[in-house]
């Protein structure tokens, strides 16, 4: 158990502590969801700790994953993160670390989540976040605590509804201009057309920006290879992804194309622990 806890910290070091950040739009969310146009609200994997904590309740095995992306080849925008989920006798706990930016501007986040199944068709989750924003040249850093709530409902055998509310408390970032962390509500659907195909669509609205629509799908071409494509509405991004499944190892990659800024690439590497023999 102890060695498992150390693992995420090690991975975090590997992926560059020098660039740790977090913020609402700059969170590491795993390359699987990114390959589907970031429509990851209802997916069931360890990155539920980013997208919707309620999904953690459906996870059956302990899972660890780390992700890294360099948007448009700009190291100042690099985003890295680690997610960890442990199913317990009742419910699942999750840990999420995310970091964005460079020395000049950084956003970091640590989240601790708990999710529970309510009946057979429904699950709920919540997460407590510790957020840190730092700006160089004497501007200093701000720390804050925020929360997230998630809900997932199986509407039918192959259709799932997901809802997620980030920062309902409207946590303050700075007193100047009453600046607050964004409050974001997401709602989406996941449709499992067959065992090989998942389709996802969702919408997101925060208190400041225009609504965003996203959609995507994944198709398991052969057992160990999954291809994905998706569309992120704002900014318009075409996303393409590939996932590889090798025994316990999960590797997902994403390439997304922004009309003006160019290519954004990301990878996440995960490990699924076998249940204790």
């Amino acid at each position: 158990m102890q060695s498992r806890a150390i693992c995420p910290l090690l991975l975090l070091l590997v992926f560059g502590l020098n660039s740790l950040t977090a913020g609402n739009d700059n969170l590491a969310g795993g390359a699987r969801a990114a390959g589907m146009g970031d429509a990851g609200l209802c997916l069931e994997d360890v990155w539920c700790t980013r997208h919707n904590q309620a999904g953690l309740a459906f996870i059956k095995k302990t899972e660890l994953s780390s992700s890294f992306e360099v948007p448009f080849g700009l190291t100042d925008l690099q985003t890295g993160g680690v997610a960890y989920a442990i199913p317990l006798y009742k419910g699942t706990i999750g840990l999420n670390l995310s970091s964005f930016g460079s020395q000049d501007y950084q956003e970091n986040k640590i989240g601790l989540a708990y999710a529970l199944k309510i009946g057979s068709h429904c699950s709920a989750g919540m997460q407590l976040d510790y957020l840190r924003t730092g700006i160089a040249e004497g501007y200093g850093t701000r720390n804050a605590v925020a929360g997230e709530l998630g809900l997932e409902v199986l509407l039918s055998k192959n259709l799932k509804l997901g809802l997620h509310l980030n920062n309902p408390t409207r946590t303050s970032l700075a007193e100047y201009n009453d600046e607050r962390y964004p409050t974001v509500l997401r709602a989406g659907l996941l449709y499992c057309l067959s065992q090989k195909i998942n389709l996802a669509a969702e919408t997101e609205k925060d208190n400041a920006n225009l609504p965003i629509f996203r959609g995507g799908f994944e198709y398991s071409l052969v057992q160990s290879l999954i291809v994905r494509a998706g569309l992120n509405g704002n900014p318009t991004m075409f996303c393409f992804g590939a996932g590889f499944r090798m025994k316990n190892l999960i590797i997902d990659t994403v390439v997304s194309l922004h009309p003006i800024l160019g290519f954004n690439t990301g990878i996440s590497i995960g490990y699924v622990f076998n249940p204790k023999a």
């Binding site: 494509a229 569309l231 318009t236 075409f238 194309l257 009309p259």
Partner: protein, 707 residues
């Protein structure tokens, strides 16, 4: 084994009795030229993209008309025949051929349902055009047999706008300038004759006179403005096809040689792959898309070699002539083919164009590869206006093209692509490239991705590849399409296209980008009703509308157009079919002013049983602020016409169409349309088509004889 399959087929047949009935009713009811709803929608999208309302789309459907009369035998059609049908996607074709390969010929049409990727709607679509015969001879046994199969068709079409248009009035005495009037009468006349023996020959003549053109009779007269003639022979032997006179050709994905029409983005989001048909007789009434000369296609086992040659006189604006009157330099090449004004007559047939080329294809079981080479030579130098957007335009006399294409099927994936080079007087050749993949992930879902990159200086005078701008030049883009059928009654089609233009275009003074998103949900609650809802959002950049000074450099600004449409088709009885449409359009142009437009349309068609006539009518009310927010809607016209009029301004439109069949051989169709405008006293102000009145009416009639 075969007995067992026969029993299985029988069981399937009985268990799908409802489909059976559906199918039969469909075959009986639909006249041959009636387009399905999705085809109509595709034409509307095509017209909107090209801005052409009265394009002759008949060549897109001539295969269907042909197969309607000569049903394709699925068992013997082979890959080529099934592709020619144009209604099945490559994965379905592959699955069908595989099925025949493994299990032997189909025993009944209902066996299609047991093949993967064939669902009821797609079977229903192809049913009128196909049949299943286990044993059939492909060749004609005797002369009598040959004569029996010969079909001849004669068409005469007449159309005219009833109101007096400015171009046909006498010129005003003060500005006495005959150049501002049409030279001929406002009548449009088309006559065509075609005689064909299926799978063997086709012989045809046609003549066309457009409104405003001269119909000259007497000694100097040549009658129609445009004539077309073709003789086409095809055999099962070495000579696959032999074309004389006017012909069409299409190879690969259309980067080098594709003389006919082709649809790019359509409501069928996953159908973006092209299948070149090789040489074909030219049967369109369009005046400019033909090749004139001859071609031959030879077959040697897996190899197929095609060579063609064409010589034509094009219309071009002459900018320089030699002392002897020989045309030395031309500025622009006209593509309308209309010779109605003195200036149009002046530029008529001024530029000789000579084209020669060939295609070599190798067809293996799952891989088709081909190379194309072509050379075009003009009789005079082409020298476009020296403005920035013409920097990469074609200049000179000669253009060489070469390309290589392929199509590969691996399991349920289809890869296709073409790469091409063009070499004009510039130092280096320029490239064009297209690559796509279609994945039939599940019988209920498929998706496609297509990437294209056409350099601004790439040219081919016969290219027509997948594009947003309509030209296989100066465009890069990535297209992503998805079709989904979660339930049998429900289907969803989504595409998104991102495009960038590396160089300037007319009225776009900077390299810009754009995107296009389309989503459509259609619901068929039962066989009599079809409801669809669509949404389209298109972002494109244009120079500000006020900017008219050509020498000034403007900043193109993005504008967004959003369309919403609800379309309901229902058949309350077997005799009546009703269609209702509501369409909303929002447009913010480059200066961010919002325009909103609206269209409401209701139409019906009645086809009494056992009576030789049908009646179609529609009434449309439209209200859009300007031509920027025009809405295109398909309208059924007389046979052979595919009209997608655009509605702009405030007004209403009435259409009536009556079709009768007398003596079984002669079919007479008559249509009348009248558009009333409530927001103007004069229609088409400032043009030669100007009408001093609030309404514009048009009559069309068509006489068709089959014998």
């Amino acid at each position: 084994m075969r007995t067992f399959r026969f029993v299985v087929c029988l069981i399937i047949e009985f268990s799908f009795q409802s489909v059976h009935a559906q199918v039969d009713s469909l075959i009986l009811k639909e006249p041959e030229y009636m387009l399905t709803e999705v085809m109509q929608e595709n034409l509307e999208m095509q017209s909107e993209a090209s801005g052409a309302e009265d394009e002759d789309y008949s060549e897109l459907f001539e295969n269907l008309v042909y197969f309607r009369n000569h049903q394709l035998n699925i068992n013997t059609a082979g890959k080529e025949g099934l592709q020619e049908l144009g209604l099945l996607n490559p994965i379905q074709i592959n699955a069908l051929l595989e099925h025949i390969h493994i299990n032997g010929p189909l025993l009944s049409i209902y066996e299609l349902q047991s093949i993967e990727y064939f669902d009821i709607p797609s079977i229903r679509t192809i049913l009128p055009y196909v049949r299943v015969i286990t044993r059939e001879s492909d060749t004609y046994q005797s002369l009598k047999d040959l004569l029996k199969n010969t079909s001849q068709q004669f068409d005469l079409r007449y159309a005219r706008v009833l109101e007096t248009q400015k171009g046909y009035t006498l010129p005003n005495s003060r500005s006495a300038n005959s150049g501002s009037r049409f030279v001929g009468s406002p009548d449009q006349v088309l006559a065509s004759y075609q005689s064909s023996i299926p799978n063997l020959t086709s012989l045809g003549f046609s003549g066309r006179k457009d409104p405003g053109e001269r119909f000259s009779v007497g000694q100097s007269g040549k009658g129609f403005d445009f004539y077309s003639m073709h003789l086409f022979i095809q055999t099962k032997g070495i000579i696959k096809a032999l074309a004389f006179g006017d012909f069409a050709m299409s190879f690969g994905q259309g980067l080098v040689a594709w003389s006919g029409l082709a649809l790019s983005k359509t409501a069928e989001a996953c159908i973006v792959e092209r299948t070149g048909a090789g040489l074909k007789p030219y049967t369109s009434s369009s005046k400019t898309r033909n090749l004139r000369g001859g071609g031959v296609s030879l077959r040697f086992g897996l190899l197929e070699a095609t060579a063609f040659y064409s010589y034509k006189l094009l219309d071009a604006t002459v900018s320089d002539t030699s002392i002897g009157g020989k045309v030395m330099t031309v500025r622009t090449i006209q593509t309308t083919g209309i010779h109605a004004t003195p200036s149009e007559l002046q530029s008529a047939n001024t530029l000789p164009e000579e084209t020669a080329g060939g295609h070599l294809a190798l067809s293996l079981h799952k891989l088709v590869m081909g190379v194309t080479a072509m050379q075009t030579r003009f009789g005079a130098d082409v020298e476009p206006k020296p403005v920035p957007y013409n920097l990469f335009e074609f200049r000179g006399k000669e253009l060489m093209n070469a390309g290589a294409d392929y199509n590969l099927v691996i399991r349920n994936l289809i890869f296709f692509g073409e790469g091409a080079l063009s070499k004009d007087q510039r130092e280096h050749p320029n490239t064009a490239f297209l690559q796509g993949v279609l994945v039939a992930a599940d019988p209920r879902m498929s998706f496609t991705i297509l990437y294209r990159n056409y350099s601004p200086a790439y040219h081919s005078f016969f290219s027509n590849a997948f594009s947003e701008g309509g030209k296989t030049s100066n465009e890069q883009g990535i297209y992503w399409g998805l079709t989904l059928k979660p339930r049998s009654q429900l289907s969803i089609s989504v595409f998104c296209d991102y495009v960038s233009y590396p160089w300037l275009k007319y009225r776009v003074d900077a390299p810009v980008t754009g995107n296009d998103f389309f989503a459509k949900i259609s619901w068929n609650p039962d066989k009599r009703t079809e409801i669809y809802l669509f949404f389209r959002r298109k972002l494109s950049a244009l120079d500000p509308p006020a900017a008219n000074d050509p020498d000034e450099i403007n900043f193109p600004l993005p504008g967004i157009q959003t369309n919403y449409r609800l379309n309901i088709i229902t058949q309350p009885s077997t005799v009546i079919r009703l269609k209702t449409r509501v369409e909303l359009i929002w447009k913010t142009d480059s200066v961010q002013s919002l325009e909103q437009g609206f269209l409401l349309s209701a139409s019906f068609s009645i086809k009494p049983k056992k009576r030789p006539f049908s009646l179609t009518g529609s009434y449309t009310i439209f209200d859009t602020p300007s031509g920027n927010t025009r809405i295109y809607a398909y309208e059924q016209g007389v046979p052979g016409t595919y009209s997608t009029p655009s509605y702009s301004g405030r007004g209403s439109r009435f259409t009536g169409l009556i079709q009768t069949k007398t003596f079984r051989k002669i079919q007479i169709s008559l249509s009348f349309t009248r558009t009333f405008y409530d927001d103007r006293q004069v229609i088409g102000i400032g043009t030669l088509n100007q009408i001093n009145g609030r309404h514009k009416s048009e009559v069309q009639c068509n006489l068709r004889m089959k014998f």
